[in-house]
């Protein structure tokens, strides 16, 4: 019998804790597959965030750190500077990266740290129960924006990719989505490019991945996929914002 499919060696066999319909699982798998395909799993060191992906250290089949909330880019800096030949990545959500860890991600990019950030943007704090994030859309209801996010008091949703693309040291910045198969394929390509940029020693790379949170959004998994497409993509346009010539 020929083998048609097997799970990636980039991930452990541990059952994931993610809610039904959450797209974190897909993104984990893409990262795991890329690490294996690039042949770098054995020299990879990942940094997990605080948030829904806090237990990512149990899922990736490589050495891992669990960082304090938002501090993953600083932790990754410490690792990569002393182990420049290893492959280092952070896996962070939007509460972690765009709110409490905004300084750390900006300055890691600013210094051109040679690691890769996988940034999962689902426009909400999932783990703590659906609070408003800097990325929550205007009018979107969250437990701390019960009447819908109001621009007057909470500002406009933060566009991380556009912001980081203004920083010279951020050499690879791309926004992708995993709400459909075509998007998932493009996401994997972007992740692979971002890691290749690191392997080439070019500097900091980030892939922002639009992701669903059915539980936090109060939707079914299917509803959440169309909500992402109809609401998030218009505000968070997909595409590459920065790339070295060969990664374009």
């Amino acid at each position: 019998m020929s083998l048609l499919f097997e799970p990636t060696k980039g991930m452990t066999d541990k059952s994931m804790h993610y809610c039904p319909g959450c797209t974190h699982g897909i993104i984990h798998r893409l990262v795991g597959e890329v690490l294996v395909e690039l042949g770098v799993l054995g020299k990879s060191i990942g940094v997990a965030p605080v948030g829904c992906a806090v237990l990512a250290y149990d899922y990736f089949n490589c050495d891992m750190h669990e960082a304090a909330h938002g501090r993953a880019p600083a932790v990754a800096t410490g690792i990569k500077r002393i182990l420049p030949d290893n492959v280092v990545f952070t896996y962070q959500g939007d509460g972690d990266l765009a709110s409490i860890g905004a300084a750390e991600i900006v300055h890691a990019a600013h210094r051109g740290e040679n690691f890769t950030t996988i940034f999962v943007n689902n426009a909400i704090y999932g783990m703590t129960g659906g609070q408003m994030a800097p990325t929550t859309l205007i009018g979107q209801k969250a437990t701390t924006s019960p009447y819908g996010r109001d621009k007057a008091t909470t500002g406009m949703p933060l566009k991380i990719s556009e912001m980081l693309a203004t920083i010279d040291g951020a050499v690879f910045v791309e926004r992708v989505t995993v709400h459909n198969v075509a998007g998932i394929r493009k996401t994997k390509k972007a992740i692979k490019k971002a890691f290749q940029v690191q392997l080439d020693g070019k500097g900091f790379g980030i892939v922002e991945i639009l992701s669903t949170c059915p539980t936090g959004w109060g939707q079914t998994p299917v509803e959440s996929l169309s909500w992402l497409e109809n609401n998030m993509i218009p505000y968070y346009p997909l595409g590459n914002f920065r790339a070295p010539e060969e990664a374009k």
């Binding site: 891992m64 932790v75 690792i79 500077r81 182990l83």
Partner: protein, 353 residues
């Protein structure tokens, strides 16, 4: 080896390099700036890593990363910066990562001043970080001692897999004294087989982590950590006594203040008052035993600090109600003179003789 005249901050930095410090992560703050400046200049020469972080928060988390990768790491700061590091310190303890944290302290609260102060005693011995944790805290009173304790700090950190704090006030950081560098030569330190260096496909992943969601797991971890703290209390206590044999008044002081207090003791003895000194060198674990050994001649204790009174709490615990305890402190960057301390002691023993 010939002694070299060095500024405290630079001597601490040089001691760290000689002790095999691989990485330094810091952020500018007075009065410790000579530490990162020295590191920026000298770390690249030995292949070491120097990064000026965007904040003390980032610096301590860079420490977490490099320490987790199994390397010898140091950061330095001063009081308000130390406050910012508390989160990271708690994580370092939780994840059992060896590291050396230098606090060249200044006056507070808030932005305070840039003058020497000892008002970070609570911060370093009690910790501002969350959770049950303990850290060995060294408080040198000379530049030579700062050098020796810096070198020792790296070994202690590696042995226990726990951060170590070196607390110097601004005076220790800024003054110059002749020093020599003597390495410990300690070789029986445990192998860092827990470090994240990449599995190379040859072992299970190593995970650096302080999260244990199951209560029974975290309690087990808390007991494991406590066992280390118990061992530290048993083995790592350091103190010095000065003219204690026949002391009728026992002065207690650490760091810079202890040197001034020694002068006060000499002048008191010239005036016929038998004064002695207990100088804690480790602020935690605190030298409780030294207080059990106070001679019968002693009638009272005088705690001297450059603060409004913080170490006095530990003296009260160590004293167990045996002797009356008095306090003399200057704050805000004011440094007590030997005369002020001697006058306070005279007042306690019954007026000027």
């Amino acid at each position: 080896m010939a002694k070299i005249l060095m500024k405290g901050n630079e001597a601490i930095a040089e001691a760290a390099i000689r002790a095999g410090c691989d990485c330094f992560f810091g952020y500018p703050i007075t009065p410790q700036n000579e530490v990162p400046e020295y590191m920026a200049k000298h770390m690249p020469k030995t292949g070491g890593v120097f990064v000026q972080a965007e904040s003390e928060v980032a610096a301590i988390n860079m420490v977490y990363g490099a320490a987790g990768a199994g390397f010898r790491v140091m950061t330095s700061t001063s009081s308000p910066g130390m406050a910012l590091k508390q989160e990271g310190i708690s994580y370092l303890v939780g994840a059992e990562l060896p590291s050396v944290i230098v606090n060249i302290s200044r006056g507070g609260p808030g932005l305070g001043s840039i003058q020497p102060s000892q008002s970070d005693y609570f911060q370093v011995t009690r910790g501002g970080g969350n959770g049950d944790y303990r850290i060995v805290v060294f408080a040198p009173s000379s530049i030579q001692e700062a050098v020796d304790l810096t070198i020792k700090s790296f070994d202690i950190a590696d042995y226990y897999r726990n951060p170590v704090i070196l607390l110097g006030d601004g005076m220790i950081g800024q003054m110059m004294e002749p020093v020599e560098f003597n390495l410990s030569g300690k070789t029986n330190l445990p192998k860092k087989d827990w470090a994240t260096t990449g599995t190379n496909g040859e072992r299970k992943p190593n995970i650096i982590n302080s999260l244990a969601l199951a209560s029974e797991d975290l309690e087990r971890h808390n007991y494991k950590l406590q066992k280390k703290y118990d061992e530290m209390e048993e083995k790592e206590v350091m103190h010095e006594t000065y003219k204690m044999d026949d002391a009728e008044i026992v002065l207690v002081a650490y760091g810079t203040t202890s040197r001034i207090t020694k002068n006060a003791i000499d002048s008191l003895r010239e005036n016929g008052i038998k004064a002695g000194l207990i100088r804690p060198i480790t602020l935690w674990p605190f030298p409780n035993k030294a207080f059990e050994e106070i001679p019968k001649t002693a009638k009272s204790i005088l705690v001297v600090e450059m603060s409004m009174g913080q170490m006095i709490d530990d003296v009260k615990i160590a004293n167990e109600g045996r002797l009356p305890i008095h306090f003399y402190g200057r704050a805000g960057g004011m440094i007590p003179s030997p005369e002020e301390i001697a006058n306070k002691a005279k007042e306690i023993v019954g007026g000027a003789k």
